[in-house]
């Protein structure tokens, strides 16, 4: 019995040793770099094709594609890998919200140390866009790569049916449309058609698809925090809460869950959505189903450029990489115009790149995918999230106040925003 126990202990110990990473090639002069791709099949396909092309051209620097190991969330898997020093060389799908954790763990390589980093970054995007990816210490540790801006998706047929031909851009236009769209169609005394659907589940990241884009649009792109001070305790947050509260309390947004896709079933005329809906809609929509994307809704008095939330992902090189210079060469290759086009073609996700719409390299693609034009227009203006390790909890606190005020009408928007701000600051102050 004791033997069994000891065997188990030994087995466990052998499990502790980090698995050999990266450079396991036989040939002395040949470098192999490991690249983790997100699990989504389209992204794996992009990674494989890009790496295959690179590998043909660079026999001395081979890229090996691995899919990020399964886990509860890819962020956690990456953090765990950092802690056990089993990170790959390059990872392409870092959520900017976890950068601070990666930095605290000293997991990632400083990228602006490479002499041509600034040139590469500036070639892709203007400083207004790239600045939000700069870490508090003034350096860049991530290469902003791709983005999924959140926009308003409308069923134009349903709107036309009630006489609305221009898509709403402000709260009052939206609410006005809502009074006409929301109604009882079959006359059984119960409303069966609504203005919009909002996935109001009290889960922190759901607020990135309702409150947060609305807040960014209202504030003109100000994020929730300034350094470690709460900055969302303002009129903009209150306006967003008040608007959403009205949507729910007047019944423009149903407070129940449905089976199937309510938008596709034409039960609602609008929803918050990203470019990923396009392929789904194209595949399943009935022939007479028409839809269009529009910029994020704004308060009536706001006259600012439409801004939204960009569900963006960055590329990082880990400190376990023994050949950062070569890894950086590959990162540059991944983000060339040609590969950005490949990203669009394969994954329908947008590279964070300026003036794609004027560029002839992309002209053919946008000609074939007119819906993607709307997103390309948003890419530069869209904002990411603050990089603090308390980010999720702050979103969770906002979610609770959102639920109490917007969904259940138990609190005024003013009170809810103030409570959320106060509690968030308390958590940021515990150190």
């Amino acid at each position: 019995m004791r033997l069994l126990f000891i065997t188990l202990l030994l087995a466990s110990l052998s499990n502790c040793t980090p698995s050999p990473s990266a450079n396991t090639s036989q040939a002395e002069d040949r470098i192999t770099l490991t690249y983790w791709s997100a699990t989504n099949p389209d992204e794996v396909k992009f990674a494989n094709e890009t790496a295959a092309e690179w590998n043909r051209e660079h026999p001395q620097i081979q890229i090996k594609i691995e899919v990020v190991p399964a886990g509860q969330s890819s962020e956690e898997v990456v953090l765990a890998a950092v802690a056990s020093r089993t990170t790959p060389d390059i990872y392409a799908s870092v959520f900017p919200g976890v950068m601070q954790d990666l930095l605290d763990a000293r997991g990632v390589v400083q990228l602006d140390g490479f002499p041509d980093f600034d040139a590469v970054l500036n070639e892709r995007m203007p400083p207004e866009t790239s600045e939000q990816y700069r870490s508090p210490d003034g350096h860049f540790y991530q290469m902003p790569w791709k983005s999924n801006p959140i926009m308003m998706l409308y069923n134009t047929g349903m709107l036309r049916e009630v006489g609305i031909t221009t898509l709403p851009t402000t709260y009052s236009e939206f609410l006005a449309a809502a009074t006409r769209v929301t109604r009882d169609r079959d006359g059984d005394g119960r409303v069966d058609q609504w203005m919009a659907t909002i996935d109001y589940l009290p889960i922190w990241y759901k607020r990135m698809y309702d409150y947060y884009p609305l807040y960014l649009a209202a504030s003109g792109g100000e994020t929730l925090l300034q350094k470690r001070r709460v900055a969302f305790n303002n009129e903009h947050s209150i306006e967003v809460f008040r608007f959403l509260q009205e949507c729910f309390s007047k019944g423009y947004v149903p407070r129940q869950t449905f089976q199937g896709d309510v938008f596709l079933d034409a039960k609602v005329a609008a929803k918050f959505s990203g470019p990923w809906s396009i392929s789904h809609l194209e595949r399943y929509r009935p022939a007479d189903f028409e839809y269009e994307y529009a910029p994020m809704l704004r308060p009536d008095n706001a006259s600012i450029q439409p801004v939204s939330y960009a569900d963006s992902k960055s590329i990082v090189i880990f400190t376990t990489c023994r050949h950062p210079r070569e890894a950086w060469e590959f990162v540059k290759f991944m983000t060339t115009k040609r590969n950005d086009l490949r990203l669009l073609e394969i994954t329908s996700q947008l590279p964070i790149r300026a003036s794609m719409l004027e560029d002839e390299v992309f002209a053919d693609y946008f000609g074939r995918h007119p819906q993607m034009v709307r997103f390309a227009e948003q890419v530069l203006g869209a904002r990411s999230v603050d990089s603090v390790s308390e980010l999720k909890e702050i979103f969770d606190i906002i979610t609770q106040e959102f639920e109490a005020s917007v969904i259940f009408n138990l609190k005024s928007p003013e009170q809810a925003v103030q409570d959320a701000a106060q509690r968030s600051q308390t958590i940021l102050d515990v150190e």
Binding site: L79, D101, D104, Q256, K392, I407, L410, E431
Partner: protein
């Protein structure tokens, strides 16, 4: 057992004499070692070997985590980055954390519904089963079935029963022309729904416990009471309840611990909502640890929760004991 051993076994049994004192028995080698004085000169080497795995395991998997809990309480740590000392930060945060107090309030509310329901239904069914009836095994087994089925199955099942549009409970209400109820979506009702479900899941166990307790009550007590002309209620109040006191205590403690361990039900059915009305301590601990990566704060919540359980059980014991006097 080998036949020869069985023979020896019965032989030794016969060697036992009536009225022997413990010491005499011990001297004749009839009493287990635990009751014998420990002679200091000889120790059984096998003893060390046999408890060694247990001791090692306990030190590693209970002792160390216990000690480490007290380290964690004073730190902020997401496991992956270096630990950060926060002193009493976590404890201060806990004391002003509206959610942990909300979770405590929710749990107490849960218990206030769950325990009385549990006691009444379990005692009632046990009384019925304790009469001369046919098919007792069948009834007992059917009441017990939810106890053995895994909590997640029961949770998924009841989530469907409680569903607003398609759930059987609301369908039944519609049959008798009553409006639908948001069993899991109304913040005033969600916890009640969970408490009813938990009662349904666990009551079978308590039926069996009460049944064992009832069967242990000597029938002559009732006979004597009947001679004195006691009514059924008097018999119940004056004989059954006092005699069942230990079982009642047990049921109280077990349901309390159940209530404080609530996790899978709100995790699956409501995620702790609506408006935190079904947030439980363990769910909150889990959230802090696994959503927000705050191991130190989660450990602080665990410590607080353990402390509360301990206190509540202590109070219950005190109350039941005074009742009994």
């Amino acid at each position: 057992m080998q036949p020869s051993e069985a023979k020896r076994f019965s032989m030794w049994n016969r060697g036992e004499r009536k009225g022997e004192s413990r010491r005499e028995k011990a001297e004749r080698g009839l009493l287990p070692a635990a009751f014998r004085p420990l002679p200091s000169q000889s120790a059984d080497r096998a003893g060390y070997l046999m408890v060694l795995p247990y001791v090692i395991h306990t030190v590693i998997f209970i002792g160390y985590p216990l000690a480490f809990a007290f380290v964690l309480i004073f730190h902020r740590w997401n496991i992956y980055s270096p630990m950060k000392w926060v002193g009493l930060g976590n404890i201060k945060l806990l004391l002003i954390d509206p959610l942990i107090w909300r979770a405590l309030g929710n749990t107490i509310f849960f218990l206030l519904i769950h325990i009385p329901l549990q006691l009444i239904i379990a005692l009632g069914l046990a009384q019925l089963l304790n009469q001369k009836i046919r098919g007792r095994t069948f009834f007992r087994a059917s009441y017990f079935l939810p106890v053995v089925i895994s909590g997640i199955v029961v949770t998924i099942l009841w989530q469907q029963l409680y569903a607003y549009e398609t759930g059987l409970v609301n369908l039944a209400l519609r049959e008798i022309n009553l409006p639908r109820v948001g069993w899991l979506t109304d913040p005033r009702i969600a916890m009640v729904s969970i408490a009813v479900m938990a009662t349904w899941k666990n009551v079978g166990l308590y039926v069996v416990l009460f049944l064992v307790g009832l069967q242990a009550i000597p029938s002559h007590l009732y006979e004597a009471a009947e001679l004195d002309g006691a009514s059924s209620w008097q018999k119940f109040r004056l004989i059954t309840v006092p005699m069942l006191n230990p079982t009642i205590m047990l049921v109280l403690v077990l349901s309390t611990i159940n209530g404080f361990s609530l996790f899978i039900e709100p995790y699956v059915m409501t995620g702790g909502g609506p408006v935190s009305s079904t947030l439980s301590g363990i769910l909150y601990l889990y959230k802090q640890a696994f959503f927000f990566g705050k191991m130190g704060y989660a450990a602080t919540i665990g410590f607080f929760w353990a402390l509360i359980i301990f206190m509540v059980v202590l109070i219950q014991r005190r109350v039941v004991e005074t009742e009994a006097v």
